[in-house]
Amino acid sequence: MSLEVSICDSCEEVLAPPRLKCPECRKEMRIEEVDGAGVIITHTTVHIVPEGFQAPIMVGLVKLDAGGQVLARSDIELETGMRVDVEGLEDGTHRILKMDRVSGS
């Protein structure tokens, strides 16, 4: 799967969802479609959720192979170090689609 990120050529920063200006140097960012492969850095299952949402919410912080990190929701139990695939959604959020355990590492 893929998602849109923005890249700052000056800071080499990669941010998703994409934004127009770099938060560090205010330079214009370049928008690019990148592969959604990455690894879970940390995660949580939220049991007490705000009005309008249904518990539990599973969410993970994913370090993308293409650079940068995204928070994404998941329908599957997460574990730190898992390989995942992230899809960018229209509302600017992200979803973890499938995953495999990291093997041998």
Binding site: V46, I57, V59, L71, R73
Partner: protein, 374 residues
Amino acid sequence: MPTGYLAGVGHTPFGRSELDLVALLEDAALLALEDSDVPKVDAIIVGSQTSDELAEVANLGTRLADILGLSGVASWRVENSSGSGSALLEAATLAVRSGAYSNVLAVGGEKMTDKPTPVTAKVLGRVLADTEIALGLTMPSLGAMVARMYMERYGLSRETLAMVPVKAHANGARNHLAHFQKPVDVDKVLSSPMVADPLRVFDCAPISDGAAAVVVTSRRTDVEIAGVGHGTDRIALADRRGDGLRATQLAAAIAYKEAGVTPAGVDFAELHDAFSILEIIDSEDVGLFPRGEGWKALEAGTTSRDGELPINVSGGLKSRGHPVGATGLAQVAEVVWQLRGQAEGRQLDDVHVGLTQNIGGFGSNNLVTIMRRV
């Protein structure tokens, strides 16, 4: 550089209050004015994270001047979410240092229990990034992810993490102004309901009403505001880089430089433990312990009331309570009482330098203040 001094502090009881926000602010302000020997303040700075929504009241600056019998005096509001309290002290200090004003009253408060808890939680969550709000995340959700990352990276166990609220409650039991004044044990923390795995109810600061105030003056008193530092980080957690909270690290570097002290010169600290894990991370961010070792100091009792470097002897946010707009000034009040030898029931021996660290948003807009007995 011209400096600023603390002439008086005030602190209402924290917890569920019958008073409305303006009455709480008034009480704290009157206590601070009474505690100081300043005949007249020439400016008022008021703070609240979200008075408009949670307390349905606005124009706090004018209201305070009016109700305090100070109509005519310059009065304005400062907002920096849960870091509003320290931002008030910063604004008052800068106002005095600049020479524009001689005596400034800074007062912060929050009335949080009027609305049902889900509404309060939603309003508080507005400080997060849009993408986080869209996912249904709240402050504790981000705290949980940060907690897991730290635990897995540095070997902190869930049981040791529970020692933060246990210590907080033990300290809060000695503070007559605290929201909770009852000790708890590790079992109680670990059997409380799960909020966001691995954080449970007892890992999270409560929803509280309350206000705190200080009078800052250009005239020498017994407590100097030696250093005030302020830093920010990117609003979205996923957009941040590095370990710990950069906003705290930046703020601490400025505060230490201004004060001319190093972390080794700090005798005690009041840190922003909105979630248990934050006290440990904060203690490393302000340089009191090396990265990854804050939990070892906690486990060894170094940060206990009778340890070498007491942290949150007031009870911290967890036990003292967390009326968001008041917290930073409540931390300052505790430091002033300790430095003056007035912390009844919990006085530390021989303390000269105290540090506060106050977080705005989820760690994105933080302040560090260093105060010194002179």
